[in-house]
């Protein structure tokens, strides 16, 4: 895979990181978290990409689903790496849990402080 897609994923990661660190609105911080999650999952899936040689020419690998009559060894030679896909599935679920918790906390912060602005949510100091 060309390095272009990796650089794009890194750009999304950096944008999410910037939003999470520099923005003052809680909703924007949550969106930054989402962007970081998407970028990380994308990079993790891209690591598993493999190009295979089929019928003499280089082609992209197949999805790792076992068809009827295929042996596992044949599939392993033809398919992309399935392990990053399992990792990404877990990572997406973790991201979902984090997002749900962050949104709930953001809502409760709005209830208590009356604002989404982190400059005004500053009772703890020192």
């Amino acid at each position: 895979m060309s390095t272009g897609i990796y650089i794009l994923a890194l750009a999304v990661l950096l944008a999410g990181l910037y939003a999470m660190v520099a923005k003052k609105n809680i909703v924007k911080i949550i969106v930054g978290l989402l962007a970081i999650d998407y970028a990380l999952n994308l990079m993790l899936v891209l690591v598993g990409y493999r190009e295979v040689v089929r019928a003499g020419c280089r082609e992209s690998g197949l999805p790792p689903i076992l068809a009827e009559g295929q042996t596992p060894a044949q599939l392993a030679a033809m398919a992309v790496d399935p392990l990053p896909q399992a990792m990404v599935l877990t990572s997406i679920v973790i991201g979902l849990g984090l997002t749900a918790l962050m949104v709930a906390m953001g809502i409760r912060l709005y209830e208590r402080y009356g604002t989404f602005d982190t400059n005004r949510i500053r009772r703890l100091r020192g």
Partner: protein, 159 residues
């Protein structure tokens, strides 16, 4: 003004949400044959529940599924998953695929792969109940109840 959205949205939700739920269950059932699996199916099933909450309003949706029921199904799905994992002890060790030791089944058929099917169903129940319960809890914060003008921020200013 009644709760929920316009009658067009309500009727569409009434028609569609059953199909969405069936589709979610299908995706979870064939997780070991085609892409998808327990988590994706659970999210789609929860989307049907979320559609009902959005279209009909929270109080009507609570007559269909309450937060307590969501907690129960959530715990049941997770507990069943752990029970399946513990049953592997009879066949060698923790989390061993004991059904596959008996018979692996044929590639591409529904009853193949051993405990993967059962695990997918448990995850379906857990994720659907969890997400539906979470959305029901989040939808309890209504704009009318939490009015920013009534909250006093430090320094005596109104928000």
């Amino acid at each position: 003004m009644s709760e929920g959205m316009t009658p067009i949205v309500k009727n569409t939700a009434r028609l569609i949400s059953g199909f969405i739920a069936v589709f979610g269950i299908y995706i979870a059932l064939t997780g070991h044959i085609s892409p998808g699996g327990g988590f994706a199916g659970g999210v789609i099933l929860a989307a049907a529940a979320v559609l009902i909450v959005l279209a009909f309003g929270r109080s009507t949706a609570e007559r269909i599924f309450t937060p307590s029921q969501c907690h129960l199904w959530d715990a049941a799905g997770a507990g069943l998953f752990l029970v399946v994992a513990m049953l592997g002890y009879f066949s060698g060790g923790f989390f061993v695929n004991f059904i596959a030791h008996i018979s692996k089944g044929q590639v591409g058929k529904l009853f193949s792969g051993g405990t993967i099917l059962v695990s997918n169903l448990c995850i379906l129940i857990k994720v659907a109940a969890g997400l539906a319960g979470a959305f029901l809890a989040l939808s309890a914060f209504r704009r009318q109840g939490v009015d920013a003008a009534d909250i006093v921020v430090e320094g005596g200013q109104k928000a």
